[in-house]
Every structure is written in structure tokens, then in C-alpha cells.
Subunit: 256 residues, 2 copies
């Protein structure tokens, strides 16, 4: 029973920056995407915050999150307009000067030329990178994101963010991947809750979630999701849940 101790989990937070999300004008599509992506590569997303385009809100959220988790991924606020203040805030949080980055200037200038537009003050804003940061390539529209310390600064436009995440992911430390299995209960949450709680209590190393859904034919139904890093423990708890569900179904059939 003495399995080798698993390596410490690699954790992460997302910081979504933007008034447009908080006003409801734009519906965020990045949180769910990054969540699924990180789970897939063995990084545990532990927290998400959404803050407005406000310096003190951004700086204090960023400092809280980067202290607490292995990685922080920010989205939004790195475009060419006055309301894009993420780079300024990240520089401030790290106490690093924000400077024109030669490589970023070159990338953005060449992109502007290729698109038949001019390199101007607004576009130059996107070349301001905190000293000590490394660039995250943007294969979609040129202007790069950047990484400083454990913070990945990415665009808010989903297609660009996704390209940046692909670019930065291979450089990240990853943990043992969290495995999961979904068991369809064919019963209501309230019918399985008590016994499911007993199984969860007996297996603290396996996370058990219960998610109600509505089945067109059967009515209220439940998905039970078991999650663990150890495949054997996962399989054992899954079997226990399935046995419990069979027992409950037999009881319910008997009581009719």
C-alpha cells in the first residue's frame, strides 16, 4: 500500500481583465477553455478572478494570485488602446520598468507593414514589455504576449489567447494528470446523496462530484464524477459508486 508519494500538484489561477466581461457585453469564452486545457496537461486550476480595467484592482488581484499558485494566466488588456493597461499593471506588480521591447517593436512593425497600416503610437503601446519578461508568440495577429516570473500575460480575443496558450504550454512544469470518470446515475441527486456522501467520506483521496442534469426521457438525473490521480483508486471508487447505484435502484424498484 506504500505507493510512491506523488509529486506536489502544479496549481494555477486565471485573471480575466476587462470591463466588457463585467458589464455582460462580452461573454467570456476563455475561462472554460483554459480550465479544460490545464486539466488536460496536469495543472490544477484553483481559482479564477475577473476584475475591471482598474489599476489597483488588477495589481492587487495579480499579487494575491501569483503568491498563491504555481502559475497565473491573465487574459485581456494588451491591445493598442488606452483601456489596455495590463502590461502597465503587471510591470507595477513586479516592480519592473515597462520598456519598448526591440523584438516586439520589430514584430509589430513588420505586421503593420504587411497589413498596409502604419506603425503609430497606439501600435507602439503593444511593444511595451516589462523588463525581464520573455515574449509569448502570437501566430494570429502578431503582437506578442509575455511571461514574467510565474505570470503568463495573454490576449483576451479567444483565438489569439488559444495560440498563446499553445505556445507557452510546453514551457510549463506539469503534474500528474488528474483522471476522471463520469457515472450516469439514472437517479435523482436527492436519492443518491446520502450514500454517495458516505463513499466520499471513506475515500478522501478521490474527489467525488455530483451534477444534476435533466434527461428528456427520464426527467431529473445525475452525473457522478470521480476524480483522482491514481488510476487504481479511481477504478475502486467507481466500482463502489456503481454497486451503490445498483443497490439503490433495486430498493426503489422493490418499494414500488
Amino acid at each position: 500500500m506504500n505507493a510512491p508519494a506523488p509529486s506536489a500538484p502544479v496549481t494555477a489561477a486565471i485573471l480575466v481583465i476587462g470591463d466588457e466581461i463585467l458589464s455582460g457585453r462580452t461573454k467570456d469564452k476563455n475561462i472554460g477553455y483554459i480550465a479544460e486545457y490545464l486539466t488536460g496537461i496536469g495543472i490544477d486550476l484553483k481559482e479564477v478572478r475577473v476584475v475591471s480595467d482598474d489599476e489597483s484592482a488588477i495589481v492587487s488581484a495579480l499579487n494575491a494570485l501569483r503568491e498563491k499558485y504555481t502559475y497565473v494566466f491573465t487574459t485581456g488588456g494588451i491591445g493598442p488602446t488606452h483601456d489596455d493597461i495590463t502590461a502597465d499593471c503587471v510591470a507595477k506588480a513586479f516592480g519592473a520598468p515597462l520598456e519598448f521591447n526591440d523584438v516586439a517593436v520589430k514584430i509589430i512593425s513588420e505586421r503593420a507593414k504587411a497589413m498596409g497600416t502604419e506603425m503609430n503610437e497606439a501600435r507602439m503601446r503593444m511593444a511595451r514589455i516589462p523588463r525581464g519578461a520573455s515574449l509569448i508568440p502570437n501566430t494570429v495577429s502578431g503582437a506578442p504576449g509575455f511571461r514574467i516570473g510565474n505570470v503568463m500575460v495573454m490576449a483576451g480575443v479567444p483565438s489569439i489567447m488559444q495560440a498563446m496558450l499553445d505556445a507557452v504550454a510546453p514551457t510549463l512544469k506539469t503534474g500528474v494528470k488528474m483522471l476522471s470518470d463520469t457515472i450516469r446515475a439514472d437517479a435523482r441527486e436527492g436519492d443518491v446523496g446520502t450514500e454517495l456522501g458516505a463513499i466520499a467520506k471513506a475515500h478522501p483521496e478521490v474527489s467525488i462530484g455530483s451534477y444534476p442534469f435533466f434527461d428528456e426521457k427520464l426527467g431529473p438525473n445525475t452525473n457522478i464524477v470521480v476524480r483522482a490521480r491514481d488510476p487504481e483508486k479511481l477504478a475502486a471508487v467507481k466500482a463502489e459508486v456503481e454497486a451503490m447505484l445498483a443497490r439503490i435502484k433495486a430498493q426503489m424498484a422493490g418499494s414500488r
Copy 2:
């Protein structure tokens, strides 16, 4: 020019509770819905946090948010299973005992009976309400949410959450509604950014956001969103932005 001072803005935060959102298994649909809803009734959503089904994470996020904003709306974790710990955590944050609420017991028992199921330990969990809280009706599936202090505790299932929000909204203090107008730039963000920044700087009382989008015909394009509570100020800034866009278009046509 001495308009009456607007009343203090009414602010809010959302606290989304649930491992399933952080694992990416479930894609949140509540943040965008609540954001739009609150904007519509004159409440400014200022922050969102998503935390896991973990007591200390929930309690500390809730305490931070309820201190800071007029209202906090939580979603998720009030079902009948062991992983539903929101009521416990809210009670703990408020230092209030968590008790079986007679009205909630009655509602949930009657619902169970009507559905042909039994009132059991799991369903009784949903009747545990912090002392001093008032119930938020759930017209969809019975088991109520609750309000304690400035915190509204709602379900995570979108249809149920929406019904609860409808039920609680008329009881909330609301501010002067934030008005907004969208101006399609027909130009790239980088082409308008410098002048737009100058307009924003000259009108700190009007919030100006710039949001790139891709137009199938014209390619990269920009929506400029102006937001203010005062309709006259909004109209004045909108006119300034439109004049600026006309000027830039003329320049660009001239330079071809």
C-alpha cells in the same frame, strides 16, 4: 453645469463555487447572465471569483467580497450531495448557526412527495439555512436559495439561478443605470487608438472601451463602447468619437 451629484453606485461581486467549473468539465453560463442582468438594473458588477468546493477558499473569498461590495451573489453548491458545502461555508463566514429551516423543510418535503420521491437525509441537507437568513424562492425545483446580510446564495443550475435572481432582484437597492452606446469604427484598433486615448483622457467621467472584432468583409475592425450614467455626457462623447473616426477615415483615404 452643476448637475445634482449622482447617488453612490451600487456594486456587486459574483462568487462561483464549484470544482466542475475549474476542471473545465462544466462551462459556466451564470457569470455572463448575471453581469448583463445587474447592468440592466443599475448595479455595477465589479469582481467575479471562481473557487473550488473547499471550505477555506469559499469562506475567505466570501468574506473578502462581502466587505468590499454592496452585494455578493453566489452560485453553486446548494444541492443535496456531500460536495454541496456552500450553506455550511456561508454560515461559517457569518458566524451564524446552520439550522433546519421549517419553511424550507416544508417546501422540500412537499416537492419530494409531489415527485414521488422520499424526504431523506440528502434532501434534508437542502433545508439547512443559516439562522437569520431569508429564503429565496425556487420556482423551478423547489429547494430555496437564501439571503443573509448582503449575500444572495443561489443555485448553480442556470435555469434555477435565473429564477432565483428574478425573485431576489426586486428587493435590491439599485443605482442610476449605466448607459452605453456602441460605435462601429470600420477601422483597426491600432488606427484609432491614439486619438481615442486622447478623448478618453479628456472625459474621465465617461468610460470608453475598445473591442476588436473580425469582420468577414472588411477584416479586422473595432467596436468602441462609450458608457456613462449621464445621457448628455454620453451623447457628447459619442459625437466626439464619431467626428474623430470621420477625420481618420478622411486621412486614410487621402494617404492612399
